[in-house]
C-alpha cells in the first residue's frame, strides 16, 4: 500500500462515519434538519452534485484524449481518469438522490420521463454515461483498447450533452434572470473540463510515482498547458457574464451578481473562486514551479477546490434574489427565507459522500490489478505494464 494511502485511509474512514451520521439523520428525520426551504429550494447538495457530475465529465476528457484520440502522453493519467469519472458521477448522483423529497420514487425518472424536461433528459444521459464508464472499467481490466476507443467516443458525446445540459438545467429557467443566459451551458461545460482535469492531475501526482521519463514530462506539460488555457477561457467567460450583466443593469441580474461579489458570501467568490481556484494556480502554472509535477498536482487540486465554490455560487446566487420584493416577509417562516447556510446534516452528508468516493478510489487503485500498477495500458496493446 502506498504511503499516502496509509495516511488518507483513516481520515477517509472518519469522513465515512461522519457521513453515516448525516445519512442516518436524513433517512430517519426526513428533511427536518436541512437548512434550505422553498424560496431557496436547493443548497449545498445540489451545488456539489452539479460540481461532481461536471468534474466527472472533465476527468473523462482526459480518458478520451488518450483512448479516443490516442494522445500517448496521457496513457498513465487516463488509467486514473476513468475511475475518477465513475466515482465522482456516483457521488454526485447519490447527493441528489438524498436531496429528493420522495427518494423512494427516484425510479419514476426512468418510467415517467418527461421529454420536455432538461432534468429528465439529463437523468438518461447520466445513466448511459455511467454504463459507458462501467464498460470502460471492464475494458481496461481486459485490456481491450479497441473497445476503450469506441466507448470513449460515446462517452465524450454524453459528457458534452450533460456537461452543457447541466448549465441548460439552470439556463432554461426564464423565471430566473440570473440563470437565464446562453453563456451558462458553455460556462458549465468548460468549468467541468477544468475541474476534472485538475482533479486527475492531482490524483496522478499524489498517488503514483512520477517518473522522470519523456512520457511523464509530456503529461505534465499537457496538464499545465491545458489547465492554463482552460483557466484563461473560463476567466473570459466569467468576465463576459459579469461585465455584461452589470453594464446592462437589469436589477435582478445585478442583484445576483452583487450578492456574489459583495454579499454575505463574498469570500466564496473572492477567496475560493478567484483566489484559490484561479489566481494561485495560474501563478503556479505560469511560473517555474509549473514545470515540476508536484506543483502541477497542487494547481490541479486548487482548481478543483475553487470550482466547487463556483458552482455553489451559481446555484445560491440565482436563488437568493426574490421573485417578488417582500415575498419572504409576506409570510414569515424559516423555510420561506432567502438566507441559507448549510446545516450540520448537509455538511455531514457532503463530507461522507465525497469521502466515500475518495475511499473507493484509493481501494480501487490499491486492489484492482489494472489500476494498481500505475502504468495504464500500453497503446501497442501487447502488455498492460511496462
Amino acid at each position: 500500500m502506498m504511503k499516502v494511502s496509509k495516511i488518507l485511509l483513516p481520515l477517509l474512514l472518519i469522513a465515512l462515519v461522519i457521513g453515516a451520521v448525516g445519512v442516518w439523520d436524513r433517512l430517519t428525520l426526513g428533511k427536518a434538519n436541512l437548512a434550505f426551504g422553498s424560496y431557496l429550494p436547493w443548497g449545498l447538495w445540489v451545488g456539489l452534485y452539479i460540481y461532481l457530475i461536471g468534474t466527472s465529465g472533465g476527468a473523462f476528457l482526459v480518458a478520451f484524449l488518450h483512448y479516443g484520440l490516442g494522445i500517448a502522453a496521457l496513457r498513465r493519467p487516463a488509467t486514473y481518469a476513468v475511475p475518477i469519472a465513475l466515482l465522482t458521477l456516483g457521488a454526485g448522483l447519490l447527493l441528489v438522490l438524498l436531496d429528493l423529497g420522495q427518494m423512494g420514487r427516484f425510479w419514476y425518472l426512468y418510467t415517467r420521463t418527461s421529454p420536455t424536461s432538461v432534468l429528465g433528459i439529463m437523468v438518461w444521459a447520466y445513466t448511459l454515461y455511467g454504463l459507458v464508464l462501467a464498460a470502460m472499467v471492464l475494458a481496461m481490466a481486459g485490456r481491450r483498447l479497441r473497445a476503450l476507443k469506441w466507448l470513449s467516443f460515446v462517452g465524450i458525446a454524453l459528457v458534452i450533452v450533460f456537461g452543457g445540459g447541466e448549465g441548460a438545467l439552470f439556463g432554461v429557467l426564464g423565471a430566473n434572470p440570473y440563470w437565464n443566459s446562453g453563456i451558462l451551458p458553455i460556462r458549465f461545460l468548460f468549468s467541468a473540463f477544468l475541474s476534472g482535469i485538475g482533479l486527475v492531475a492531482f490524483a496522478v501526482v499524489l498517488f503514483r510515482r512520477w517518473q522522470a521519463d519523456a512520457e511523464d514530462e509530456a503529461a505534465g506539460r499537457l496538464f499545465r498547458v491545458s489547465m492554463l488555457a482552460l483557466l484563461a477561457f473560463n476567466l473570459v467567460l466569467e468576465f463576459a457574464e459579469i461585465s455584461v450583466a452589470l453594464y446592462a443593469g437589469v436589477p435582478a441580474v445585478v442583484e445576483a451578481h452583487e450578492l456574489i461579489l459583495f454579499g454575505a458570501y463574498w469570500w466564496v467568490f473572492w477567496i475560493l473562486q478567484l483566489g484559490i481556484g484561479l489566481l494561485i494556480p495560474a501563478l503556479v502554472l505560469v511560473s517555474r514551479l509549473g514545470r515540476r509535477p508536484e506543483w502541477v498536482g497542487v494547481a490541479g487540486a486548487l482548481i478543483a477546490i475553487g470550482y466547487a465554490g463556483t458552482k455553489q455560487n451559481i446555484v445560491l446566487a440565482g436563488l437568493s434574489v426574490p421573485d417578488f420584493r417582500g415575498l419572504s416577509e409576506a409570510f414569515v417562516h424559516p423555510r420561506l427565507s432567502l438566507t441559507y447556510f448549510p446545516s450540520l446534516t448537509e455538511w455531514y452528508v457532503a463530507i461522507g459522500v465525497v469521502g466515500a468516493a475518495a475511499l473507493a478510489f484509493i481501494l480501487a487503485i490499491e486492489i484492482l490489478p489494472f489500476l494498481k500498477n500505475h502504468e495504464g495500458i500500453d497503446p501497442s496493446g501487447l502488455t498492460g505494464t511496462r
Partner: protein, 307 residues
Amino acid sequence: MVECTVSEVPDVPETEPTMRAHQQQGNPSRRRFLQQVATLTAGTAVFGLPPLVEATETEVPSSLAELPPLPESTPDNLLLRMQADLRRALKKPIEERRWAMAIDLRKCVGCSACTIACIAENKLPPGVVYRPVVEEEIGEYPHVTRQFIPRPCMQCEEPPCVPVCPVKATYVRPDGIVEIDYEACIGCRYCIAACPYGARTADFGEFYTAGTPALQPYETEPSHEYGRSWARDGKASPAGNARKCHFCIHRLDAGMLPACVTTCIGYATFFGDMNDPESLIHELAGKPNVMRLKEELGTKPRVFYLT
C-alpha cells in the same frame, strides 16, 4: 354567505386524481370525473342543503338544477353572483370551463384572512403557503401608502413549472388549473425554481407542534386537495412534494367558491369561469384597469389584478 368547511367534505375513496384520469383516458373519464364529483359532493352541505350532484352516469351533472335557487342576486352581492356563475359553469363540460381569479388591489386591506383561510382549508403544514399577501410600501414618510398584493398560484396558461418537471407530475387540467400529482412528484423542486411567482413551496413534512409533548390532532387531519383524502404522517405525500394553490378544486367540484374568495372581508377577490360571458370574472377581466404579474414572461396568468 357560503358556510362550508373542508371538514364537511367526506373522505373520498383512494382513486387517481381526477384530471390525470381525464388526461389519460379521454372521453370515458368524463363519466368517471362526474362520478368523483358526485362522490365528493355527496353529504356535503352547501347552505345546509342536499348534495349538488348525484352519482349518475350522465355526461353533464344535470342534477345541479335540483339545487334550490339562490337568493336573488343584487348588484352589491357579489358572492351570490359568483356562486351562481360557478353553478352555471359546473353544468358545462370541464374542457369548456376556464377558471380565473381577479383581485382588486384597491379593496385589499392586507388582513391576510385569505392566507389563513387557505391554510385552514388545505391543512397546510409549517413553511407551506399558497396565498401570501405581499406588502409594498410606497413613498417616504409622511407621504406613505401601502399596497397589498395577494399572490395565489397564477394558474398560467403557459406555466413554466410544467415542462421542467422530470416526471410529468404537474400539468394543466382541461379547465386551466395547474395540478400537481402528489403520487408522482419526486420532490426535486425544479418546478419551484422555475416558477416566476414563487408560488410553489416545498412540504418538508414538518408539524407545528413538533417537539411538544404531543402532536395535536389537527396536525394529522387529512387535507382534501385534488378531491382526495391526504392523511398526514410527515412522510407520505404531500410531505416531500412541491405544493401550490389549486383554486380549491375540491371545493369547486362541490359547488363552492375557493376559500380565499368567500373569506375575503373586503370583497376583493373574485372567481369564476372566463369562458362565461355573463360571469362576473369575465366582466372584471375585461376592464381597462387590469394587469397581470410579470406579463412580459409570456406565462399568461389566469389571475388578474384590478388597480
